[in-house]
């Protein structure tokens, strides 16, 4: 989905604020949420990592932006547990003594099919173009590279295609690649010639260029 989480290239967020000597967790509730997510993952209560990421992405944009990091984890975990029937929303609200905001429901989706390629379609040095697709479900193809041309710099093993894995427990492994994009291809002529961005992309996201 074209969510707020897909932040690469956005303007307006200001300088990076660094906290010197930052603790691993700032508040006891953050430690507990981290532990609950880890514990729920170990018990397979809430689905895959992809499903977890998608649950965060489904948060209403305003909530996503204002929520501290581990509040996003809390919201996603609670959402998935409600959707899986482990707990109910009413139970959460009653316990919390106020409202308990959850992520938005999964929209109706037409899921893609993984390539299932045994041998990678592309090799190191190949030119590729990122398909200009805008799936309504989970994807790990950032908007800022869609339609852009890059060069394969590394061929990785096969991994489950997140666009499927977030939604269905079915086989969906396919090769993934690291693709190098010149900064000028992504950001135009003002970008420096001496900068590049490497993005890790599944085979389904890529196609050969029309012109070599």
């Amino acid at each position: 989905m074209n969510g707020l989480h897909d932040m690469g290239g956005m303007d307006g967020f200001g300088p990076v604020q660094v906290e010197e000597g930052e603790p691993v967790f700032h508040h006891p509730w953050e430690r507990r949420v981290f532990g609950l997510v880890a514990g729920s993952a170990a018990r397979r209560l809430a689905g895959s990592t992809d499903a977890f990421r998608f649950a965060i992405e489904r948060m209403p944009p305003a909530h996503y932006l204002q929520a501290p990091y581990y509040e996003r984890w809390l919201t996603a975990l609670a959402t998935l547990l409600v959707e899986k029937g482990v707990i109910t929303r009413e139970e959460l609200v009653r316990r919390a003594g106020g409202s308990f905001p959850l992520s938005q429901p999964v929209p109706p989706l037409r899921l893609p099919t993984a390539t299932h390629s045994q041998a990678p379609r592309f090799g190191v040095g190949d030119s590729v173009v990122v398909r200009n697709e805008h799936p309504g479900g989970h994807t790990r193809c950032p908007r800022y590279v869609r339609g852009k041309r890059g060069t394969v710099v590394r061929v990785d093993g096969a991994f489950r295609l997140p666009d499927v894995a977030a939604h269905r427990e079915v086989p969906c492994a396919e090769p993934a690649y690291s693709v190098r994009f010149a900064a000028r291809e992504l950001w135009g002529t003002d970008a420096a010639a001496t900068e590049s961005v490497h993005v890790d992309l599944w085979e389904s996201y890529l196609e050969p260029p029309l012109e070599p």
Binding site: E19, L45, L65, L74, V86, F100, F159
Partner: protein
Amino acid sequence: MTKSGKRHRGPKDDHHHPAPPSDVEVRARALEELLRDKGLVDESFIDAVVSAYENDIGPMNGARVVARAWIDPAYRGRLLANGTAAIAELGYGGPEGDHMVVVENTPDVHNVVVCTLCSCYPWPVLGLPPTWYKSAAYRSRLVREPRVVLREMGLDLPERVEIRVWDSSAEIRYLVLPERPAGTEGLTEEELATRVTRDAMIGTARA
């Protein structure tokens, strides 16, 4: 918000507006209690996991990897060829570290890592990510204007140095192998490890 800092709660008989969200601490406790009532919380497991990331799994692990690579050219070669296996030689691996790639800084090339989509980070060697790494500012800007962001963060790279940004958008997790600082020839591996910072291994600082 009231003067006490507590969130104001409206009257409960107001049908037109849902109750305001409970404070996040209250919500976190509510979820934990619900799961505990249902027998779905393993306290010892949670305590062990949290304690591990607070005490044992952090940048000191990655620093050992870097220091070893600095003193042992054969290890450096293995680390760059197969990061996961070479890191496992020192005993590190696990969640968010199953597929490691190590990228090496040189006088001409500087590498820096980001996750624009969420917060992917090599946990076994760096621990859990700092807040700034997960921030909208870092995630949005690093891919667009890396030299500016690095300068703001205190790393002023000359224009002739090529910058390679790595967006960890899939299953690979990245570790930057920083350049060994000048004047450290006489240091032991343990002494070198103390010189390697977390930020140098993300790529937002030099070692």
